[in-house]
Symmetry: C2
Subunit: 104 residues, 2 copies
């Protein structure tokens, strides 16, 4: 049970960062190579590579080589379920939240 907690935390932490979230969003409809990902999310190639590797070793992404290119994909469909649930929470919760009061 101890190890399960660490592993769960690792997955959730991998998802809990804006740049990585952008990557997850971009990978939603299938695998993409790094050369497609970093321009899409407007981050440096090296930074993107680090985040991809981080999510790979957290068990969030999978990797496939094809010649020069390396394709990353979301490893478990449930990851997208998680994202959908969190999005739902945010959208429902966002009304009346201090966070949005600055937009007023």
């Amino acid at each position: 049970m101890r190890d399960l907690i660490e592993y769960r935390a690792e997955i959730l932490k991998a998802l809990g960062q804006p740049t990585r979230l952008k990557i997850i969003d971009f990978l939603r409809d299938g695998e993409r190579c790094v050369c497609e990902i970093y321009p899409a999310i407007a981050e440096e190639q090296s930074n993107t590579s680090r985040h991809l590797n981080m999510m790979l070793s957290a068990g969030v992404l999978s990797r496939r080589k094809d010649g020069l290119k390396i394709y990353y994909a979301i490893k478990h469909p449930e990851i997208l379920e998680v994202m959908d649930i969190v999005t739902r929470i945010v959208k429902r919760d966002i009304t009346g939240r201090h966070r949005l009061l600055k937009a007023a």
Copy 2:
């Protein structure tokens, strides 16, 4: 959409840390006061308090005062859905993973 990403990341980050995960697990069957939480997870009162406050402002927990005691609870039932999904991923993925090879 920009703000949504930040907010989603904040929630997921709040869940992605072992000590906070222990708290979430402990709060699974209902609200508890700080004085129950920190002995249950075997962490210092001050450290526990910080994590609780962090999850509160991330929108993961809610807080209720009752006299001297302050009761925290999981704010959205969906948080538990997220935890269940992640647990399922971990349990399925854990076989044949380097992480578990050290136990061999």
